[in-house]
């Protein structure tokens, strides 16, 4: 019986318990070979981008030398050019503004809905929940044409960053409702009931007890909506042509490519400078993303 129980404990502990050392070593060799293989695949394009962004222009276009290292002194000139000669800072600021207001709207829409779905009993609650989850599947590619017309004819927001602020919550809200629902369900009902016994109204109980307890959840959702806003491409490409209103993804990809002329150094510098902060932020969210997905599928 005891050996049986050991056998089913997780793989890792089984490995640790195994007296057969050579097997453990073999395992770790496999792990590291695999890691190196995937690191090369994952990082090769990014390393190429990074090296190129620090190369002198003449070094970039010199096709006679091996491309993966410097043959003239590294330079910051592309980064300097980006800040001084392009609207990079404006684009970066636009991205921050757009993502910030996307988060605000997402929270305003998602928090009440998630609370209702997690706590309240009302007809069709289940169907609403599933319906909202499904809207996460509606692809922007189906919506960008009609939304262009709506944003230019019904409200005059086209070609401003506010067009994106209005539209981005369509793809952030559904998943956020779903995630927050999970967070609210982990808060014991008793806590809320106790507050109501103490004389709080339902709304007061939510504001004073439930929300403070779900700060980690709210933060996760905010980070998620923020990074999605920073990553978006299709709507920004479709709605914005005024260079001063562009978020950074569109500014870098369209304004730094003029016709057939590519400013490789500036392009790579801009892409990394805008991309790495998003990646760092996203990383905070990753574990919760895993939870959200599994919760949607099984719980």
């Amino acid at each position: 019986m005891a050996s049986d129980a050991l056998d089913v404990s997780t793989q890792a502990t089984a490995r640790e318990a195994a007296p057969w050392l050579s097997r453990g070593r073999k395992d770790s060799i496999v792990t590291w070979l695999g890691m190196i293989f995937f690191l090369v695949i994952a990082l090769f394009p990014i390393v190429v981008m990074a090296i190129t962004s620090f190369k002198q222009g003449s070094d970039i276009i010199d096709v006679q030398t091996p491309p993966l290292w410097f043959h003239r002194l590294p330079t910051f000139s592309h980064y300097v050019y980006l800040f001084e000669q392009t609207k990079f800072l404006t684009w970066a600021w636009n991205t921050i503004v757009i993502s910030f207001f996307t988060v605000v709207i997402t929270l305003i829409l998602a928090v009440p809905a998630a609370y209702a779905l997690a706590r309240l009993h009302f007809p069709n609650a289940e169907n609403f929940g599933i319906g909202i989850f499904l809207t996460y599947l509606v692809p922007p590619a189906l919506l960008f044409l009609p939304l262009t017309i709506i944003l230019s004819r019904y409200v005059n927001l086209i070609d401003t960053k506010w067009a994106l602020v209005v539209v981005y919550p369509t793809f952030t809200t559904p998943f956020c409702v779903w995630l927050l629902m999970g967070f609210f369900k982990t808060i014991p009902v008793e806590v809320e009931e106790a507050a109501r016994v103490d004389g709080c109204s339902r709304l007061q109980a939510i504001l004073r007890v439930v929300l403070p307890l779900s700060v980690p959840g709210l933060l996760t959702v905010a980070i998620f909506a923020f990074t999605l806003g920073m990553q978006e491409y299709i709507y920004a490409l479709t709605f914005i042509s005024n260079s001063l209103e562009k978020p950074v993804t569109i500014g870098v990809t369209s304004d730094l490519i003029r016709g057939d002329e590519y400013f490789w150094g500036e392009l790579m510098a801009g892409a990394l400078l805008a991309g790495i902060p998003v990646a760092i932020l996203y990383n905070f969210f990753l574990d919760h993303f895993v939870e959200g997905i599994s919760q949607g599928a099984i719980k």
Binding site: A5, A141, L145, Y262, M268
Partner: protein, 315 residues
Amino acid sequence: MSLTRTPAAVEAVAAAPPREAGRLRRFVRGEAAFGYLLMAPVLIYLGLLLFYPLLLSIWFSLTDASTGQPFASWVGLKNFTDLWSNETFRLALRNSFIFTFGSEIGKAILGTALGFLLLRRFRGKRVLRALLVLPWTVPVALTTLGWLLLYDPTFSMLNRTTGAIGFPYHPNWLGEPVPAMIAIMVANIWRGFPFSAIILIAGMTSIPADILESAALDGAGFLRRFHYVIVPMIAPILFVGLLFDLVFSFTDLSVVYLLTKGGPENTTHILPELAYQNGIQGGDLAQGAAISLFMLPVFVIACVIMLRILRRREI
């Protein structure tokens, strides 16, 4: 009072003062109203900016709308029949499926391998994981610029690097039809394989250890545990992840738009990118809408399957 009631129910009703029962009913009614009130903002918002545009799109596709004249006259299914006889469109439709399924297979293979590697325990895992998911976490539009440089006909970092290690195949990646298809799929696989790994990890870590333990105590061998416990438990998660990924791959235009814009000679168009080029850049709103609606069946099928998974978990 009806005779069919059980004594317990009779007692309960008798015990509760009538005022109490009324309050209960009011409370339930109030809860429902409160629930709908809290749901209202999100439902109105999604109705206006999600369902209404969807309907508008269907309407546009049945008219001869242009971006300059969006509310135009009814032409029936003409846009769809025109598209069906259009060589470029049919190629784009075919490419969309090749692009999506080709990418999905690549992502599944790399993602599964990476997922199982990341499930192991080793030092420095958090840092390594952060590096390995970079293709997924850096915005796709920006990393695609890196691929543009890798594939560039003159400065192709890819050909120069593979040339240096003696690899013999050096096509003009974005300038010839078949290499261009491969090129956009490789960039898309690279972009998405960490996500497949994340989904796999989500599936594997969602199996509670005590369930496996009790299955083993009941005498289930590894194969039986794998078949009856592990597979049914992770399958829904993998499936949900796969569906999301399929829909995203099928409807994302950034990789193709940035790398080839459908070229060379219209051989690498995919549906979302063609809808953008015709609908926005060409101003043919009706045709653009019709092209994007060809993606609707894929979305609907994904929804139906998803719905079945979500319903099943309730039972």
